[in-house]
């Protein structure tokens, strides 16, 4: 059995891979933390408009340290910048954009994703202080919900499952998953493998996945720049 920690993509490489699918002219919300990294790898020549829950559309990159304006932040409370065409609005209008289906894509992190598209990403179910933020709205808002995630937990347990065991964020929402080992779509049959690292066999990938992997046509080799 292969040790996946030796071959797997870094979070930065996963973010790079997800970024390759950003569509020109699309409206995209990136979940706080890891998914925010996707913006850094937006391919040249594609115009993507980023939305953040706290009422900004079409913002730019992070400012240099020391030049932050703390009234100009994203949902992760990180400073962003203006771009020509940025717009401000209040929270109800912001979630009208989300809930009303106006976003093309939301890329979220996840604790677990199930083969029916269920996602768990807000509560470890272990007590402590629960916090949900905008996740439960986002999973119902965008035309496509994608997830970026390690393929397995730090303990090596599968994060892609037959059914989530943690409290759900939303049911039947996720369409695509970018992991540290593979790219998968979710269809009526469950997880459909689209890409995988050349260094992992189908059997080994299946062994670290908690639900059956289906194939439709060719499985492409998953590649990301090695220096990320």
């Amino acid at each position: 059995m292969i040790d996946v920690t030796e071959i797997k993509l870094t979070n930065t490489q996963i973010a790079w891979r997800a970024a390759q699918d950003l569509q020109d002219g699309s409206y995209v919300n990136l979940g706080i933390g890891f998914p925010e990294m996707v913006a850094a790898f937006q391919p040249d020549g594609r115009d993507v408009i980023y939305h953040t829950e706290n009422g900004v559309l079409g913002f730019g990159k992070a400012p240099p340290p020391g030049e932050e304006d703390w009234d100009l932040i994203n949902a992760g409370k990180r400073a962003v910048t203006l771009k020509p065409g940025t717009a401000f609005f209040h929270h109800a209008d912001s979630f009208a954009m989300v809930r009303g289906g106006h976003l093309d894509l939301a890329i979220l992190g996840a604790y677990q994703v199930a083969q029916n598209g269920d996602i768990a990403n807000w509560s470890t179910g272990r007590g402590g202080v629960p916090a949900v933020g905008g996740a439960m709205d986002l999973v119902h808002g965008a035309k496509t919900i994608a997830v970026v995630t390690d393929h397995v937990t730090k303990k090596g347990e599968p994060k892609l499952l037959k059914a989530c065991t943690l409290p759900l964020t939303g049911a039947g929402c996720v369409k695509r998953v970018y992991t540290s080992l593979a790219v998968l779509d979710i269809s009526e049959v469950g997880f459909v493998l689209r890409e995988k690292l050349a260094t992992i066999s189908m059997d080994d990938l299946q062994a670290v996945t908690g639900a059956e992997l289906h194939a439709e046509g060719e499985v492409i080799e998953l590649n990301a720049p090695g220096d990320l």
């Binding site: 109800a92 009208a96 954009m97």
Partner: protein, 235 residues
């Protein structure tokens, strides 16, 4: 990103027979007259049209009615200084009317744009317009349930528009247009002045571009009220 279209006819070509079309304006203020007239040239049929009113005189929505393009009006106030176009067809049973209280109409359109399939309102409780609608008591008072309203295409008028679709409006011509922009599967806008991205202060954007699919500049647009005062007609 540039949502600028080459012509009004490119915009209205998205309207197909049988569609639901929201058209901005309250009376003449905010009515996208040139866009409506381009739609008349394009001549889709059997439309359901959502507007506060049901046309005035012989231009704009009244002219659409005269051309037999509208099967159903959803509006709050199908009266005007010269409501003949609608009145004659309505009394002859040739056009359907869904009468909605104005605040409920506005809220239903917003709900359509905001992904809220239904909400409760006190408006029309105890009246014939509430008949057949679910009702429920909240905090000791009765409310009725109303459903969202969505459009295949929304056609509106704005003051400034940039290539990303960010819009501002002019005074009371704003009225239903920002809501209809949200509720349209596609939203096309005639703007009085097309400006570059960044020319609209981000604080002053009234409709963010995410709600807009195409803009066309129509400088010096006609005003329905002024047209009716000179008894204009279209075509």
């Amino acid at each position: 990103m540039d949502k600028t279209l080459s012509s009004l006819s490119e915009a209205v070509a998205h309207v197909k027979d049988g569609m639901t079309v929201m058209i901005g304006g309250f009376g003449g203020s905010g009515a996208p007259i040139e866009m409506i007239h381009a739609l008349i040239d394009h001549r889709p049929k059997n439309l359901t049209v959502v507007n506060n009113n049901a046309g005035n005189g012989h231009v704009g929505i009244a002219a659409m009615i005269e051309q037999g393009m509208i099967a159903k009006m959803i509006c709050s106030f199908p009266r005007s200084a010269d409501p003949r176009a609608f009145t004659e067809l309505y009394l002859a049973g040739k056009i359907e009317l869904e009468l909605v209280p104005q605040g409920t109409l506005a809220e239903r359109i917003r709900a359509g744009g905001a992904g809220i399939p239904a909400f409760y309102t006190p408006s029309s409780v105890g009246t014939e317009l509430a008949e057949g609608k679910p009702s429920e008591e909240f905090e000791g008072k009765i409310y009725i349930r109303e459903n969202w309203l969505k459009a295949d295409v929304s056609l509106i008028k704005a003051e400034l528009g940039d290539p990303l679709g960010n819009l501002t409006y002019r005074m009371a011509a704003r009225n239903f247009s920002p809501l209809m922009a949200m509720a349209g599967q596609k939203t096309f806008v005639q703007v009085t002045k097309a400006v570059s991205a960044g020319e609209i202060n981000p604080e002053h954007v009234t409709t963010p571009g995410i709600f807009v699919d195409g803009i066309v500049e129509v400088s010096a647009p006609q005003q329905e009220e002024a047209l009716n005062r000179v008894k204009a007609a279209y075509p």
